[in-house]
Amino acid sequence: MSIIQLKSVSRTYVMGKETIPALDDVSLDIKEGEFLAIMGPSGSGKSTFANVIGGLDKPSSGDVLVDGECINKLNDKHISSYRNRKVGFIFQSFNLLPTYTALENVMIPLILTGESSSIRKQKAYECLKEVGLENRADHKPYQLSGGERQRVSIARALINQPQIIIADEPTGNLDTKKSEEIVSLLKELNRKKKITVIVITHDPSVARQADRTLHMKDGKIGKA
């Protein structure tokens, strides 16, 4: 059963007089619990693809259905709630708030939903434990290594028990060993929690771990 359906999704950017198609009539089904890798050269539209699925960006035309719900038609409140509860983002540059501790960074989605302080502390701690960073809870991002930072952001992505994790170049800033750790962590989450994982990557070794790998070029998707 497919959790995500893209129906003729296009996303164009207007740059001065030029119109640049970042996504060009993409139609795709992603199954629930699938580990999907998207590969492709820079500027091929991979990140736009991730942002459109994650509800950060809206398609210029076409529909994105998640669990049968057309997310590109949701208003700000509902699409924000979608990002908060259904999706977890992981970025290449980790995107942690620099002045917050690891625990606090993990808590952010729960702060936004208005969860009580004791519950969100407890949940955030559990998530940090899951990624093996419980003893780093009070460290700030600059006190953590790259791999640790990415694990904090994975913990943050997990806190609302999302159905989907979207990882945009999660290993781009990490060495091989740390990359492997992160990928195996994602793989484990995919297997144990049945979370659908979509990984955007340049790295073939990451793609090899996926159930399915798609290649993007000029905003179009082709099979590997």
Binding site: D57, D76, S80, F91, L97, T113
Partner: protein, 520 residues
Amino acid sequence: MRFFDYLVLGLRNIWRRKSRSFLTIFAVVIGAISMVIMLSLVLGAKQVATSQLESINGLTLVSVSPNSEIQSSGNLLNPDQGNIDESSQKLNDSTVALLKNIPNVVDATPTVGVWVKSAKLEGQDKKFRIGLLAFAPGTQVLNIPVGAGRQLREGDMDKIVIGRELVRNFGYANNPDELIGKRIILFTQEYVDWGAEPPKPSYAEGKENWVQPSVEITAEIVGIVTHGLDEGQSYITLDWGKRLMTGLYWKNDDVRRKAFEEQRKRLEEQLRAEFETRKRELEEQMKYQQLTDDQRKNLYNEIESQYNQELQTRMNALGYNESDFLVLAKENRLARDGYGAILLRVDNTDNIDGVAKSIRKLGLGVQTAKETLDQIKKIFLLIGLIIGAIGGIVLFVAALGIINSMVMATYERTREIGILRACGATRTNIKSMFIFEAATLGFMGGVIGLVLSFGLGKILNAVGNSIASTQGVPINNFISFPLWLIVGVIALTTFIGIISGLLPAIRASRMDPVEALRYE
């Protein structure tokens, strides 16, 4: 998102850029201080001005002056004695009776500012300025509230209720009760119908040798005026005031002098007749005697000097003495010039205008507490407007500071905004965060400003009180902090924060999350 989380987030972000936040808040603090100090100054002054009227239930008082042309000084309890000219009417007891008959007038009392140079406490040396007002305490017009001792009663002579200023000057500010029963010495420029009589001048003493006397009149302190009333004013009964306004002096007793002159003339004529007879008898005798001219002359002279001697002896027998022709005279100034003012009590504030109209028809001047209050209000409104404008400008600049600080924050935190949006923050969440932060800046500025103003107010009050007491101005703690001012200032600065934060907040909330995440 919870209110508390917005607050914590806002405070953390303010703390993150401490020095910039400090400067931003500092501007708000300055604005708040100028607003608070100046507003409370206006309020304090207004309170001082109106509390006097309130404590004597002054809103239903009407002051009648002798002349409709001349506006009185604006103080109901301080009648001008000097405002009298040919167009003035004399305010006397029949005027009082006439005014009492006006409908809605409850009662009336003349008020007289009694001329007293200075006063000192018996046993002390230092003399102080004193304002003395006489009124009839038996009437239902004035009821001077006392903080210690008792009020004046009808028939009280040489009893005085003194103002706070004198209490302070006498050094009894902390224990005014101890002044009750003590004696106060009033100094007047002339002898009056109370106390010592003026010394009888000897005849040789000419007017040019006359020195202005300083006459001491003793009075017993029976009460001390409560706080809030005109602190320089002391009060006595009208009966005693009339006596003090009656001058006492020696003058020629013309009747006695005339009677004496007549008596003297009669005596002279009688003696002259007697001596003329004796002269004629002598001449008859001399016809038969051979006398030289010189002898004859001597005889005449002898008779003449006998006559003068006799006249003198008889005159002396009458008790001739120049000072006997001086008599102690009284000059009642109130009977001559009339009362300074007449104070009326009207039954209801609604009827004041009607009563005032009837009095103006009589050609008399009218001053009501309402008019005084209206004038005071107008003046203070104007001062308030000016001050408000100054405070407003300062706060406007402070608002620009907040806007600047928040706009910079939106640039600095662009990426953070993107992260929050990715984590599920709505536009409203982002907007609220920034507005909250700006409001917190304003709030903190208001609170710090109030705390500093409070300290500043204490200092200014201490300075102001000491200046006021040395200058004899009846003002005490002229800077006050009513609750609404405290709440109002904090609310205002917070509101300014919100308004200032609005634009940056909207800017932040409209950012495209994808762009924001890409922002370096």
